[in-house]
Amino acid sequence: MSHELCSLSLTAVRDLLRSGEITAVSATRTCLARIAATEPKLHAVLHLAADAALAEAARLDAAGPDPDKRLWGVPVLVKDAICTKGLPTTCGSKILENFVPFYDATAVAGLKAAGAVILGKTNMDEFAMGSSTENSAYQTTANPWDVAKVPGGSSGGSAAAVSSGQCFGALGTDTGGSIRQPASFCGIVGIKPTYGRVSRYGLVAYGSSLDQIGPMTRTVEDAAAMLTAIAGHDPKDSTSAPEATPDYEADLAAWAGKGDLAGVRLGLPDEYWGEGVDAEVLDCCRAAVDAARGLGAEVVRVSLPHTPYAVATYYIVAMAEASSNLARFDGVRYGYRDASATDLAGLYELSRAKGFGPEVQRRIVIGTYVLSAGYYDAYYRKAAQVRRLIRQDFLDAFASCDVIVGPTSPFAAFGIAEKTEDPLQMYLSDIFTISLNLAGLPGMSIPVGLGAKSAMPVGLQLFGPAFGETRLLCTAKAVMDAVRPPMVPRGI
């Protein structure tokens, strides 16, 4: 059945497409069928562009396979925070309900240039604010491993879609863990690249100094292929890194021949391996580290001493930036406008009060507060200073190790509606992912097994130095190959 094709990796399908064994149209039809079969339970897709995808696939087939196009004919999905020309981009918010961009994000242009077929847009927490995808204004996405549980967030739609075989890869965005945490909850691979590695042009901004687009896939090779298609300097993004972009897929393939981790020093931060982490999570992660040691890796203890300040620092910086970034949604030029307004202040107040959901409003209010006169120094300026200390922690740690590893999340996927009443509890679930965004460094989450108690996927997180994506990919592949975590979700 077509489900078998859906469970293949992105690179495996790409190779079948390249050799002509399957056509782009058949690959696209397979994914559309899988989406149709799983969506009643998953609710991962917000906008399906079936006709456009089939037309693009037919166009590719007519031209014939192009070996220079890394993702030729491969069906993918894109998180709804990333602008897609002619395809709705709502950010999971009512305020952008009818918004259709007339431009592609640079990362989307990269996918298209590589020959990928875009199937549609995935669900997310509104404006990427959340850790469970429950803050979407449209629908709640379920975890393919247990539909009573959340897929994580904010890129929960992309994670559920990739895990369930709706597509072979998806783009996510990560401001404080929004790629890595849902990847961990859904048992897939997710990369948050070095800040500046992937252009932010066309990514609807949440926390501009933290946001990065990254790939979400089922294998490390797939992630390398997708990252190569979207990474690189972009003159349209002033924060884009000028550093040359490697061919991650080729570099990973070249390394894979070596196969072991001899000489690689894995740093285990004390702050990530102790209190507050569920035992089943620690067990899975320790087993993965043991596997790495078996492959020749050396394990060293490191410390990231400013970790306890990371959550507070992160939420000040992210909310401050968000309060300003979301000011453009004012009902004047596009998006939701409240028809009952009778004056300018009313237009702003009503459009924004009805267009934004409660979590977004909470973050705008807090962000406005921390930037206001009399509070700026105590909050925003202080947070910016602590942020530098957090980054320095990582630089110091990388003096004695090559890759830092720890759990992606203190716990496996939780139940739908379990944490929605307590935003603070929800914020604390990001504790292991947010430091990386504050430091601007690359990280990834890989599946390392199912929790003994929850039977839900557990993710191991790997951190690298700036532009150390290749090192992360090679280490991750070795660990995943050794651990061989179950990849087929049994919830759908």
Partner: protein
């Protein structure tokens, strides 16, 4: 007149003459259809990002160098947050804590004495759009053509003490901007705008009084009137024992008064913070040195040179160098006729008057410098009299005519032939025997009478020097 000393500081916004906007590649052209010069970036669409136009940095740095500022090696763009329909992003990208230029100064001359005005800072920012309120329907529209047009804001120290000093500072600042070629200086069209902070304090008091910020002044005259009015208004309040309120006041051109627009409690909290979409701006020493080398001769240096090179009085040199176009016109005319002082007089007395009446700038002058130079030569060589020169000036100016051809065609050449003049002199003397007798009896003041009679008889074409000479001989 008053017991109070006025303290005035000015904030000037100058629109920079770049081809494209500050953070996108849209054109800055003026007078287009509404929303014609607009793209995803300057209209604040979701997900778009600003990319700095490097020409803006060059222009801002050059202005800083021209007024003795320190140009910071690293400066930071910041977001100024407020809601308004003409501000599509909900924030203006500006500079706050670390502007590109700081600590400059500008010397101006008022009533013959020099005054140095400190310049606190110069920073770059984007202009906002325009709201247009419909006259026929209950609706407002937004034109984003101006959104993202580059501005520099030049903030002075509160160093000025009178409206005259404020206007002198503004004129000097505008002159430099135009000399640098970075701003067209047009106040009516809003490419050179000014807000004034005005406060009073008793003479001798160090502490500053409460200030009012004045807006909506679209000419130097408005600035002068608005500040004068505000000084009187505040003096009256203080005389009555009332307090001045910190507020923003709009100048009402028709009534010549200032009126409250918003008070301190209604003031915005702009929540400035560094713009995370733009990296800190770095200006290298090499870049700065290259820009410094490109600076043109500035008004003060040019004025001094005009005094030493052409022998002009400082006052005349001031008039001629205030506008770069006028100074250029003068130098070209002086070069061609080799009579700099005469050329200066013609420009100041005739040309500037005609330009002013025709509301033209020197750059758009219909009479080219070569023609004015020829006119100077015609007069100096005695071919025509100065009087004739002045008479024909309006016509040759308006039509850009060559004065030499014009004079020949109209037969206006001066009578320099002593034989031809002699008969005219003889006739005048014969017709006025009483005056001749009186002159000879010692009433020598009648010389002017005879000259006038002769000029009248020759319709102004007689060479005055020759007339004097002939009269002197014949009346001896």
């Amino acid at each position: 007149m008053s017991r109070y000393e006025a303290v005035i500081g000015l904030e000037v916004h100058a629109q920079l003459r770049t081809k494209s906007k500050i953070f996108c590649s849209c054109s800055t052209a003026f007078g287009m259809e509404p929303n014609e010069n607009v793209c995803a970036v300057c209209s604040g669409m979701p997900g778009v990002l600003p990319v700095l136009n490097e020409k803006v940095v060059e222009y801002a740095a050059k202005m800083g160098l021209a007024v003795g500022c320190r140009v910071n090696a690293a400066s930071v763009f910041a977001r100024k947050n407020y809601f308004y329909p003409d501000l599509p992003k909900g924030y203006q990208i500006s500079q706050f804590e670390t502007p590109i230029c700081e600590h400059g100064h500008l010397a101006v001359t008022v009533d013959g004495s020099e005054k140095v005005v400190g310049i606190t800072r110069i920073h770059m920012e984007e202009d906002a759009g325009k709201n247009i309120h419909s006259a026929t329907e209950n609706a407002s529209f937004v034109d984003l053509n101006r959104t993202g047009v580059p501005l520099i804001e030049i903030v002075s120290e509160p160093d000025m003490r009178s409206a005259e000093e404020a206007v002198a500072y503004l004129k000097a600042l505008r002159s430099i901007l135009v000399y640098l070629g970075i701003c067209d200086g047009n106040m009516e069209e809003g490419s050179f705008r000014c807000d004034a902070n005005v406060s009073l304090r008793p003479f001798g008091q160090a502490e500053l009084g409460t200030r009012a910020e004045l807006k909506n002044m679209n000419s130097f005259r408005h600035v002068q009137k608005a500040i004068e009015y505000e000084i009187e208004r505040q003096a009256d309040l203080l005389d009555d024992g009332q307090a001045v309120i910190q507020e923003t006041r709009l100048y009402n051109v028709d009534k010549g008064v200032t009126a409250s627009m918003r008070g301190k409690e209604e003031a915005h909290d702009y929540r400035y913070f560094p713009d995370p979409d733009l990296v800190p701006l770095v200006v290298t020493d090499a870049q700065l040195a290259a820009w410094a080398a490109e600076l043109p001769e500035l008004p003060v240096a040019r004025r001094d040179r005009f005094v030493s090179q052409y022998g002009l009085t400082p006052k005349d040199a001031d008039v001629l160098t205030a506008e770069r176009d006028v100074a250029d016109y003068f130098e070209e005319t002086a070069r061609l006729c080799n009579e700099p002082k005469k050329a200066a007089n013609w420009i100041m007395s005739e040309l500037l008057r005609e330009l002013n009446q025709a509301a033209l700038t020197a750059a758009a002058c219909p009479l080219p410098p070569a023609h004015l130079a020829r006119l100077v030569t015609l007069v100096e060589s005695g071919k025509i009299s100065g009087k004739i020169g002045k008479q024909i000036f309006p016509e040759i100016f308006a039509q850009g005519l060559d004065p030499e051809t014009y004079v020949d065609q109209k037969g206006l050449s001066q009578i320099s032939d002593s034989l031809a003049l002699e008969s005219a002199v003889d006739r005048v003397l014969a017709d006025n025997p009483d005056e001749v007798a009186a002159y000879k009896a010692g009433k020598t003041k009648l010389m002017g009478f005879f000259v006038g009679q002769i000029m009248k008889a020759t319709k102004g074409q007689a060479n005055p020097a020759l007339v004097n000479e002939l009269l002197g001989k014949k009346l001896a």
